[in-house]
Symmetry: C2
Subunit: 213 residues, 2 copies
């Protein structure tokens, strides 16, 4: 049985929950409350020395980093595929994924927010402005890349969900939380709407998790 | 002929230069000066709407995002391999790579630095402190993950370079630039020393690029 250490509002955990659902892989969820600092305990550090979520355990083998977990799921449970088959198309979908997972989410996570509010002594509105600014930069890039693709469809690449959708939807959840307006982005908005009715995405939503506050 | 739009001090460009050298793939280098804002021109946006480097072009097909480019090179030029063959090991190496490419580099890039100095009006020493703090968090995580691996060797995974080394070495270059001390990290320091004498890493070094200031 696969185990996933997760936090309902962590977008990296959310990505893996979507992928597990899309591939119909059962997993035991273990809840780690980031706001209470449960990821910084000695016990959790023994499981994941990076002290981040998610942590993924398959048959005793431990993996960290959501995109590495997604690639592992793709290689060990190839159907349904979350990447196209042709190398260039695969790299395109991975590139979209990293636009979120590398260029957007890490700049706007809880740790960074705390540093800006704490160490840099920035007021609440400056922190919120930071969040919206970087989310908007990331989503604007994502929309532009989508716009020139010849593989537009219901989802980021064609008419079935890929790794890119697993990354985009948690980012949109975060955008809503921080009142970052996604209406300037019609392609993203359309994909978000499509995913709202997809069972794998619905079940992975933060509000549906047992640890939802 | 492959074309790479690159900037000598961009760690994402540096990752791709290392991978091209390791795989002995010739490429035409096109220089984009980030400090002069050459990535924000209309002409460059037409090539890469994300307005970042590197941009990789193979037979007219355009890719953005360094790790997506590395995966593409791995799939199209599999020898020498930059990922192990077993899925868990592949995910482990990818996870190490993302600890740098997602969790460290994006928080410390030129754009973020400019926002902190400009919009947040932070003095030079606070910007330098920000850089060192996040680089140290990232390298400390990386060292801890390496420390518990049973595949330690000359490089991040065993005795041949992988994608993780392509990510680590540019990050160490950046750590040196910002006087972030890597001596607390013996495994990282050992790998860095090994790479200093490796021709593929030497030729990819920022100081060896034609656009080096």
């Amino acid at each position: 049985m696969i185990k996933l250490y997760t936090y309902f509002q962590s977008s990296a955990s959310y990505r893996v929950r979507i992928a597990l659902n899309l591939k119909n892989i059962p997993a035991e969820m273990i809840y780690v409350n980031l706001v209470k600092g449960e990821h910084r305990t000695v016990d959790y550090a023994a499981i994941n020395p990076e002290m981040i979520v998610p942590t993924f355990i398959d048959d005793g083998k431990i993996l960290s980093q959501s995109l590495a977990i997604l690639e592992y799921l793709e290689e060990t449970h190839p159907v349904p595929a979350l990447l196209p088959s042709e190398p260039f198309a695969r790299a395109y979908v991975r590139g979209l994924s990293y636009t979120i997972s590398s260029d957007t989410a890490p700049i706007t996570n809880l740790k960074v927010r705390k540093y800006i509010a704490g160490t840099l002594k920035q007021p609440e509105n400056a922190v919120a402005e930071w969040m919206r600014y970087w989310m908007d930069v990331g989503l604007a890039s994502f929309e532009k890349v989508l716009a020139r693709s010849s593989h537009k469809g219901k989802f980021c690449y064609g008419d079935t969900p890929t790794m890119a959708d697993c990354c985009l939807i948690p980012q949109i959840y975060n955008a809503h939380r921080w009142k970052c307006d996604i209406s300037p982005y019609p392609l993203i908005s359309g994909i978000a709407k499509e995913c709202e009715t997809h069972p794998a995405f619905i079940a992975a939503h933060p509000s549906k998790q047992k640890d939802a506050a």
